[in-house]
Amino acid sequence: MVRLEPRRQHSQAMVYLSPVLAILMTLFVGGIIFSFMGKNPFDALYTFFILPINNSYGISELFVKATPLVIIAIGLSMGFRANVWNIGAEGQLTMGAIFGGGLALYFYDSESMFLLPAMFVLGAIGGAFWGGIPALLRTRFNANEILTSLMLTYVATLFLSFLVHGPWRNPEGFNFPESRPFPDAGLLPVIYDGTRVHLGTAFAVLVVIAGWILLSKSVIGFQLRVVGKAPQAARHVGFRQKRMVWFTLLLGGALSGLAGLFEVAGPIGQLQPAISPGYGFTAIIVAFLGRLHPLGILFGGLIMALTYLGGELAQITLGLPNAVTGLFQGILLFFLLACDVLTKYRVRFGTPAAKGEAA
């Protein structure tokens, strides 16, 4: 008989091993699915996971795709550690794009070098503003932030839709719902010629480092962890939970807002009704894939981005349906959560041991 036995302490080895195990098992099951679909599983896995990044352009696209995911996930992970469940990053991203992008549209013929930095600031403010509303509602009225942040997402996307259909519509655009293109001064410089890797990607790396320092070296990082793991102890020593709610929602909002601004000032170059294919939601998965740890999130973001790129190539070269991408992401999450069991439990074979022997 196979049993699960609780561990006294979380297995440190398993904390790091379980994501690796999950990825290996995903590859294995994915291979089986491919062979059922009549494809050579090795070809398919190669197309999915190697082909997208076997040249420098592919790697650059991986970074472009992972950039918003990583930036948002780092912000969200801070809140998740403190039991603040910000589900509305998608809305905060949208507001960041509106605030920062709005500035670029207002100065649409500007050549000023100050335009871009000002857009960063406004993008962060826009996101923080949208994250601040659930914080206010939670701290003043004890309204559940899961619900309020999620609902505000729809408000933000509809607001963007209103703007690009109406007042911010490109006057030279035949009434189609899109803004003017941003001026060159309002576009993120490309770091590496011939690719789309932009300043935002470099910023994402900085965010990872800053997130790591914040969590492991600062007092507020310590407070975050205590509030999340032992709220009563936190209250006892006088950590104010309300402050944590404000801090994490504002930070998560600001980072999401910046991620949104990077999308519109980077690869897109204008405001349009659809600026994000759900980055704000996917980032939640990325945060957990990375165990809420900044470095883990960096890898989680890259792996998630790879599944999207691989899905596109699998369609082009193998004629596999797009649903395979979703399937892969689902299998990966499933195994990740399943493998989590191993950090808290030990697998034992045979009948239960006598008392005292259990370790």
């Binding site: 839709s161 035949f174 009434n175 690869p267 204008q270 999207y308 596109e312 082009i316 797009n322």
Partner: protein, 360 residues
């Protein structure tokens, strides 16, 4: 031995080279066509019909053509990468089948001057970028005529996607058709703010029926509104493809997108080396807009619908024939004139008599 081997190898090399040269001279360029879809090919609407067109290329050109597609591509930063990947993987003809792919298409086209691009429903062209679209408003005029005859409550429910010119033009054309046979028809419009979301589309349809609509019209891509019509016992029109399987008792007709001939012609042009950048806007007469069989209606309505369809094809009826006033009462199209294509392409106003406000 060695000499023999060298000789044989040389002979083989020469023969292969000659073969390759011969093939190059005798054969036209092979077509490798790539398609970018905004929805899943299983939407039974917009993307599905483009995929039927893709299959038509394979059927018509046989061994001379291969095709591939990428479905459900978001109209954001991802589109550019997908289009570029298609160009990089040897595709020499790329169809990008949604308005939101316009700027990425033009951008990638500049970097791949030898690849031909075909962008649906946009307005930006280049030496290697063509645009194409269909005059679906002609089909909507026919649908309007049928609705005007069939409605008893005189209320038509209209599920819109986004208030862009394409959709606004469709509403106007539909109502002009309806009023040509029944001046009492009123339209109620719900914006679903999506092209494809069966849940939202179905909810919009239910809300419209609850407000008394007995005819369902949709400008979204899933069969959901028509299915709701079927379940609630009213009738309506299919969108983009013949949806009779989803609503055997409810579908009156469907305005079918028919890209097959255009796609095959463009692929052949690439093969023959005669491809040029063009702007195509085909209507009922070109076959691009196709009416599904007229069903679930009395014979006299059917006859009227067929007559209207034929008259639009022959040019006897222009849906936007003046005088046409907008809601503010301003004369937009003068008596004796028809709307120009430019006016139709940028249409952002309702005609007089539509009791709704256009979202701005």
């Amino acid at each position: 031995m060695n000499v023999n081997l060298v000789k044989r190898t040389l002979a083989a090399v020469v023969a292969t080279g000659a073969l390759a040269l011969g093939m190059g001279a005798a054969q036209a360029e092979e077509v490798k066509a790539g398609f970018v879809y905004v929805g899943p090919i299983g939407d039974h609407g917009w993307s599905y019909r483009h995929d039927i067109g893709r299959q038509a290329i394979e059927a018509a050109l046989g061994d001379n053509a291969t095709t591939s597609y990428v479905e459900s591509v978001p109209e954001g930063a991802d589109a550019e990468r997908v289009i570029r990947q298609l160009a990089q993987t040897g595709h020499n003809l790329i169809f990008t089948t949604s308005f939101g792919f316009m700027n990425p298409t033009v951008k990638v086209a500049k970097q791949f001057p030898n690849v031909k691009f075909e962008h649906a429903t946009g307005y930006k062209r280049d030496a290697n970028v063509s645009t194409y679209a269909a005059r679906f408003y002609e089909g909507r005029y026919v649908a309007g005529v049928i609705a005007g005859k069939m409605t008893k409550s005189n209320i038509v429910g209209y599920v819109g996607s986004f208030p862009i010119p394409e959709v606004v033009r469709g509403i106007n054309s539909f109502m002009l058709g309806a009023w040509s046979v029944n001046p009492d028809v009123k339209v109620k419009i719900v914006w679903a703010n999506t092209w494809y979301d069966p849940g939202k589309e179905g909810d919009a349809a239910k809300a419209l029926i609850d407000q008394g609509a007995d005819i369902m019209v949709q400008h979204t891509d899933s069969p959901a509104p028509l299915q709701v019509a079927e379940n609630r016992g009213i009738v309506g029109f299919g969108q983009a493809s013949d949806m009779i399987k989803f609503a055997p008792k409810a579908q009156l007709t469907a305005i079918v997108d028919h890209w097959d001939e255009y796609y095959v012609a463009r692929a052949k042009a690439v093969m023959d080396g005669t491809w040029e950048s063009t702007d195509t806007w085909g209507g009922i007469d070109s076959g691009m807009v196709d009416m599904a069989p007229y069903t679930n209606m009395p014979d006299d309505v059917k006859a009227l619908a067929e007559e209207t369809e034929a008259k639009i094809a022959s040019g006897e009826i222009h849906p936007f024939a003046g005088p046409i006033y907008d809601q503010a009462g301003e004369l937009r199209i003068k008596e004796g004139e028809d709307a120009t294509d430019e006016m139709l392409l940028g249409m952002d106003w309702y005609i007089k008599g539509i009791d709704a406000e256009l979202p701005k």
